[in-house]
Symmetry: C2
Subunit: 238 residues, 2 copies
DNA sequence: ATCGTTCGCGAACATTGTTCGTTACAAACG
DNA sequence: CGTTTGTAACGAACAATGTTCGCGAACGAT
């Protein structure tokens, strides 16, 4: 049941390269890059490292644990953007780091979904959080606020990466037209604002949406100060 | 291959109540409420409506399609909050609507994940979007900005609901302590800011995080005007 | 009463994650 | 050098999944 950290084979020169956490991670990574997370079955991974599915359990306790480590590996490769000079330096650096994280996840279709279902405690995620905390500290964001912002940013990144890669391609023109038609043909009596705003809803590109969201989040963090509601928002339900 | 909209049974009075989209949806809904989306297999749903898995394909083309309709059904039950009087009325109404949506999804563990992998075109989602557009119009938000905001809000809601319900319970005290320990025991050389902010990162409750995020988003939408970046954010990678 | 249509579904298929018990090998020991 | 021992590796099996196929049976029309 114990999971090992180092090469396991006791042969000094096994016929094939010895199994290792690293080689399994690499196999999973290329598999995801080629065919997405959904196709990462233990059998496929095992095949790539020339063994059977049962052998993987010596290195990762389950498929989920394997995916967690794959994700953290990707987090670890994200290029951190440092703050330049000037007053707004930290903002651009934060935005750049966020974009880089989204891009990194985007190269591994479906990994974003893994991130959403996981509490980040592995080094790659810590590295990202630490960098972002440093940038916000530079910008004079109060510590309590920065702590909350970290969560929001991580959630946004994971959600964006997930949305973007639900199904391989980044949403082609035909689908976009189909959606536009669905909106346009909606009942104008029931959904007046929506029908009126069909263009505003369907024209923006993926990038525009992303940049708008990043701008909103950073502006919200920097701007509105620590004034969290005294009472929670109006909620009709118990 | 055609999927029907109305009851399919040709008997006028079949021995059991006739299969229908509605009854299948209800079965799936209670199943999700009790045991989460992951346990919604076609076999379990079929069992609840006293039939076999193959029969469901007459009403929904696949499991994913079924889940899409289940999700939209839940969207349709969300209590919309109208804007009260005053200048900030629309903000509170928008916040309240968002909270209600999160709560509604929260009652169906795992449904948020479905929302993230889907482009909303069914009536329940349209109803929500239309209401939110109306509120923002009331607040004088430019149409283009409101269109982008709709996306961000939908994404945030789905991601929050997903995070909150990865694993049944809403994150108990022992897990929280484990996370705090993981942060505290991180290398202070590599992650100085993180170690310093351990409290800010681990103390806030789920509700505080949610309210902070909503405040940031609404403030960002209302505040920063239409000044989207001229050029995209600094990105180091191609 | 018979026919043809088609709804409903039992059975099967290919995959999945995971577990169990055996095999085979390298080091430790006599 | 022969025996023992711990354990990495793995083949086989299990239960569960989404989906498809094709048959039987019940219906409306004739």
């Amino acid at each position: 049941m114990a999971v090992r950290d180092e090469p396991v084979s006791r042969r000094e020169r096994p016929a094939k390269p010895a199994l290792s956490r690293r080689s399994i991670l690499d196999a999973a990574l290329t598999l995801i890059r080629e065919r997405g997370v959904e196709s990462v079955s233990l059998r496929h991974v095992a095949e790539r490292v020339q063994t059977g599915p049962a052998s993987l359990y010596a290195y990762f306790a389950s498929r989920d644990v394997l995916l967690e480590h794959v994700l953290d590996d990707v987090y670890g490769t994200v290029e951190l953007v440092d703050a330049g000079a000037g007053d707004r330096g930290w903002r651009d650096a934060l935005a750049g780091t966020i974009v880089n994280t989204i891009d990194a996840l985007g190269r591994y279709p479906g990994l974003g979904a893994v991130a959403l279902g996981m509490i980040p405690t592995l080094p790659g995620a810590l590295r990202l959080a630490d960098h972002e905390l440093g940038l916000m500290s530079l910008g004079g964001i109060p510590e309590a606020q920065a702590g909350l912002a970290i969560d929001l940013i991580a959630q946004f990144v994971a959600a964006t990466a997930t949305e973007r890669t639900v199904r391989g391609a980044p949403l082609g023109a035909p689908e976009r037209d189909a959606i536009r038609d669905a909106f346009r043909s909606a009942d104008p009596e029931r959904f007046p604002h929506l029908v009126r705003s069909v263009d505003a809803l369907t024209r923006p590109t993926e990038q525009e949406r992303r940049d708008f969201a990043i701008q909103v989040i950073i502006a919200g963090i920097a701007g509105a100060g620590g004034s969290v509601w005294a009472a929670g928002p109006a909620s009709a339900r118990a």
